[in-house]
């Protein structure tokens, strides 16, 4: 199946009965969350990449919000990255990623909620025409509690001794922090200020699913710059 992105001109690629499909975009961090789960659990699937500036009409039919990721299999369609990831973990029980304890699950979600505040600022800093003065301080104010939460857990991963859903949820945006810091130096996530996150980044780099799904910093910088220029290079290298 082609990796090239489908546009308004593209016909709908027929579904194979019984086959799981993810609608994605190669550089989308939200889609990456679910792709990480699929890779980690070794789930067979096909990928249809979408040109997010020229979305096919059949794409809107599946998700009226027009976002990736979308999962589709036979008559089932799901969207929203966290819903997709949780569904996969529930339906494919190997390599379980979600804790069974409700309190642990709740606290995991709170860490993701804290992290989401740093994500908002990441977009302002990495993609903004001019970086708002307080965005950099805001970014560090938001990331501080996440570092603290990881320190409190005292484990190599947010999820514990091995990678869990919370790690795959947080990872994609962190993967892009280095690119952001190359564009805006003051936003750097340094080892002295973020010792636990720095070690976690190292640990995540060794996880096979991460190695499979990630892009390196130059690739992220290129993509971000093409987005800012108004012509996202969705199909670079293809």
């Amino acid at each position: 199946m082609t990796e090239k992105s489908y546009t308004t001109a593209s016909a709908f690629p027929a579904l194979t009965p019984g086959k799981l499909r993810i609608y994605s975009m190669r550089f989308c961090p939200y889609a990456e969350r679910t792709r990480l789960v699929l890779e980690h659990k070794n789930i067979e699937h096909e990928t249809v990449n979408i040109d997010l500036k020229q979305k096919p009409s059949w794409f809107w039919d599946k998700n009226p919000n027009g976002t990736v990721p979308i999962l589709e299999k036979d008559d089932k369609v799901l969207y929203e990255s966290l819903v997709c990831s949780d569904y996969i973990d529930e339906v494919y029980p190997n390599n379980k990623l979600t804790p069974s304890d409700p309190y642990r699950r709740a606290r995991d979600r709170l860490i993701v909620e804290l992290f989401s505040k740093a994500v908002t600022l990441f977009y302002k800093i990495a993609y903004g025409k001019d970086v708002p003065k307080d965005a950099i301080k805001g970014f560090h104010d938001a990331l501080g509690p996440v570092e603290k939460a990881l320190a409190e857990r005292g484990t190599p991963f947010f999820g514990g001794s091995s990678v869990q859903m919370i790690d795959f949820t947080i990872w994609p945006h962190v993967e892009r922090f280095d690119a952001m810091a190359q564009l805006v130096k003051e936003a750097r996530v340094t080892a002295d200020r973020y010792p636990k996150l720095t070690k976690w980044i190292e640990n995540m780099g060794k996880v096979p699913a991460v190695q499979k799904c990630r892009w390196d910093t130059p690739a992220h910088i290129h993509f971000i710059e093409t987005v800012k220029a108004g012509k996202p290079d969705y199909d670079v290298g293809l």
Partner: protein, 279 residues
């Protein structure tokens, strides 16, 4: 900051409303509510706790919610507690003068917050899911993984409705905000048509309780934006659902009437939110 979510732009509700005849038959709105809130301990004062007040001690094994009587987000969790018949106690918090012990528990400083022994949970949707997982009676999600995921999509995207609701309120009823509000409501109107009397079908589910608080406050929005009122002709499914929701014991136990919501909102706009109105 009073409440991070409420928008403080000028609105038409700057006057405090005159006493209503409705109140003659109900000396104390909250007393009536408290009688209906069967699962909330009635031994504790509902008056809001402000900065400087001592931490109200929590007995081992007791579930507590930190709340504010008129907060729609906290109401979501109170609805779940009542519907699932979970025993709990309520500590209302002065959100203009937050106690230090409250901020220790939720550094984001928002209600609702749940506390039991050494466990603390905040964020309304996280609190609600936590309760649903820990207390299995009257489950609020379908058993089927796919159906549950479809419910969760509607839950995740409901923030589009609350955002549009607040924008319509703060805009003073602008057409742009009104059109946006109506367009995001369509998904939920259609969903009710597909699903039945409630979003959960024959019985209410998490989505019903997650959505409810803003529809309870319709009267506040309609004062500012009468052109964008939800009616039987423009949103028949939602209008019928609103009527049914008012009949639910959990709603009766946690609700305030439109007059009370208007009074609270007016006090909030005036810069002095009357958290203890009616007590």
């Amino acid at each position: 900051m009073i409440c991070a979510r409420l928008v403080t732009r000028a609105s038409k509700l700057h006057k405090v409303l005159p006493p209503s005849a409705q109140f003659k038959n109900c000396d104390n709105i909250q007393v009536a509510g408290a009688r209906l809130a069967k699962y909330s301990s009635s031994t504790m004062s509902l008056k809001s706790h402000a900065k400087g007040s001592p931490y109200p001690s929590l007995s081992p094994g007791t579930l507590r919610i930190y709340s504010m009587r008129f907060c729609p987000f906290a109401q979501r969790t109170r609805l779940v507690l009542e519907h699932k018949k979970i025993p709990y106690e309520t500590i209302n918090v002065d959100l203009k003068k937050k106690p230090d012990w409250f901020l220790e528990r939720n550094p984001l400083g928002l209600v609702p917050v749940l506390e039991k022994d050494d466990q603390v949970v905040y964020e309304s949707l996280v609190c609600d899911d936590y309760l649903d997982q820990v207390y299995p009676d009257s489950p609020l999600y379908p058993q089927d993984a796919y159906k549950k995921a479809r419910d969760r999509i509607l839950l995740e995207t409901f923030s589009q409705v609350t955002t549009a609701w607040y924008k319509l309120l703060s805009s003073g009823g602008s057409d742009e905000a009104g059109e946006k509000f109506f367009s995001v409501l369509k998904t939920y109107e259609t969903a009710l048509g597909d699903r039945g009397e409630f979003f959960g079908g024959a019985t209410p589910s998490m989505l019903d309780f997650t959505a409810w608080p803003w529809f309870e406050r319709s009267g506040v929005l309609e004062k500012v934006a009468p052109k964008y009122a939800i009616t039987e002709s423009n949103f028949p499914n939602i209008a019928a659902w609103q009527k049914r929701m008012f009949e639910l014991p959990a709603v009766k136990a946690t609700m305030f009437d439109t007059e009370s919501h208007l009074r609270f909102f007016a006090s909030y706009k005036a810069g002095a939110p009357d958290y203890d109105y009616g007590l």
